[in-house]
């Protein structure tokens, strides 16, 4: 039985509020000792690359770069959609600490095993 909480993030720096919010929620989960994952798809895959969170800051929300580091320090993981990373030319050596490129089967396996998903539109 998977205890994971998977927070979906689909926006990158072009939408800082939408990019940051899933990390806010996931970081709370991680800080509370939960097994938290931010699943980055579409433009959000850039957030898991080195420098990918630079300049992403929404007034009223934490600076995403700081939040990302805190989330990882709290034991959180960032999964980058492989089907989204590949056409953007993102490779393993570009990844920020805590990020992993994954495929759909990895997510499906966790959900089948009982992981809960949280979507942010």
């Amino acid at each position: 039985m998977s205890e994971k909480l998977i927070f979906n993030c689909t926006y990158g720096k072009e939408e800082p509020e939408r990019a940051t919010l899933p990390f806010v929620a996931a970081n709370i989960a991680a800080a509370a000792g939960q097994d938290a994952i931010v699943l980055c798809t579409i433009e959000a895959v850039w957030l898991g690359t080195k420098g990918g969170t630079d300049g992403v800051a929404q007034p009223g929300l934490p600076v995403l770069g700081h939040l990302y580091a805190e989330f990882i320090d709290n034991g959180g993981q960032v999964w980058l959609c492989g089907a989204c990373a590949k056409p953007r030319g993102i490779t393993e050596d570009q990844l920020e600490k805590g990020s992993t490129i994954v495929g759909a089967a990895k997510v499906v396996e966790e959900v089948v095993a009982g992981a809960k998903t949280v979507a942010f539109a």
Binding site: G82, V102, G103, A105, K106, E109
Partner: protein, 217 residues
Amino acid sequence: MLTIQAPGSTGASSKGPRDVAAAFLDALAEREFTAARSVLAQDVRFRMLVPGGLMTDEGADATIGWFRSWFAEADPFQVEASSADEVEGRAAVTYRLRLHNANGWQLIEQHLMLDVNADGRVGAIDLLCSGFRPIAVDEPDRVHQYDAGDRGCADGLAGEFRRQIQHIPIGHVLVVSTRDPAAKEDLPSLARLMGHVIRSIEAPGDGRLLVSVERGR
């Protein structure tokens, strides 16, 4: 792995045939060709009886060149059994290797009789070779190969993996090679979701991941 080596084969001050045999075997087993060459006399005579017939060559560089051509590119390269000994004045070296080369998994065995000169260097090698014997898929290890290349979850990895594993009997192992970063995470999940068993996951260090999957149903 069966290894029969003469006691005191390393660090011996006087190099008798047994010591020379052990030194040559150790160097070959580690594919330290420069070290293997240092055991040979400059004008070593090399006779090879291989499946294609009798071949001969001369000189340390040419001789080591043959071993390089056979084994340098293999990956993985495993010594399954070996021995180094003396037969009344001649050195005897035997080894069986399991390796993977451009033609797939192979088993090869070679028997060498070495003449050792007074200075402790090998003056002549007589080699008998089994040739590279492809490991048939129905032989004991029952291993099959599938190179998934850069294929990821958005370009048919799941479907192709399912097709490949359904072509092997239940209980056999499919070794999937992948370079796609997402597939490295995905293949074990895919296999488990489809009811198969992950036997091992290896990273040879060249950017590939080798995932061995036993067909479960």
